[in-house]
Amino acid sequence: MNKILFFAQLRERLQCDEVTLDAAGLQVSELRQQLAQRNERWRKWILEKDVLVAVNQSLAPAEFYIGSGDEIAMFPPVTGG
């Protein structure tokens, strides 16, 4: 199974801190597609907006394959510093 964490405005818009599901074997882009099917709100915020994805705390490209147990995080462009 995989934990998927959401941050900042993405977390607020989805009204969700995290979900747990089995994403092993999916590419990052496929996981986004799958989450987008939940409803219109998810489609808009997960798929249409600029979303960064980290796998095991490192930024991962769309074609990256998720492994069993990997920690996934999705978030908007960062604004620290």
């Binding site: 600029d50 705390q57 930024l59 908007p76 960062v78 604004t79 620290g80 510093g81």
Partner: protein, 149 residues
């Protein structure tokens, strides 16, 4: 040295820690980022800094490592605050020591440019006397980071 913390930091203490027993650094560059009153057209009165805690320290440690490989530095410190911040509060410190100033200046700019583009922090501002607003990522910051790659 990497720290992500709620409390403020003391610039003198961080200067001392950076240079502890170091007689060979002739140059030290410190960058401090602060909460300022006007941002993206809004009057800011307060700031909340969210972060992805498992990732921030890991990313900043990698960044420090990269800078040490790219320039002949003696030492690097990065401190980033999270949580509630007031106007004029310090947000971030990047401190670099080196034998010569050119590498200290370049590395400090590299570190803050990459931190702003990639480290998982998000700012939520209290603006215009009551509204909450997530800060928009700045296109200029993407360009600044891209110039190093």
């Amino acid at each position: 040295m990497i720290r992500v913390q709620e409390q403020d930091f003391d610039i003198n203490q961080e200067y001392q820690a950076l240079l502890n027993n170091d007689s060979s650094s002739g140059a030290v560059v410190l960058f401090v980022g602060r909460v300022r009153d006007l941002n993206q057209g809004h009057q800011v009165s307060q700031l909340f800094l969210e972060h992805y805690s498992q990732m921030t320290e890991k990313y900043l440690a990698q960044l420090e490592q990269q800078a040490m490989e790219l320039w002949p530095l003696e030492n690097v410190s990065i401190i980033h605050r999270v949580g509630e911040l007031k106007l004029e509060d310090k947000i971030v410190l990047v401190a670099v020591s080196s034998t010569h100033r050119e590498s200290a200046f370049e590395a400090a700019q590299y570190l803050i440019d990459l931190l702003k583009a990639n480290a998982p922090f998000w700012k939520k501002e209290l603006v215009d006397g009551g509204k909450n607003r997530w800060v928009n990522a700045n296109h200029k910051d993407k360009i600044a980071a891209a110039q190093w790659s």
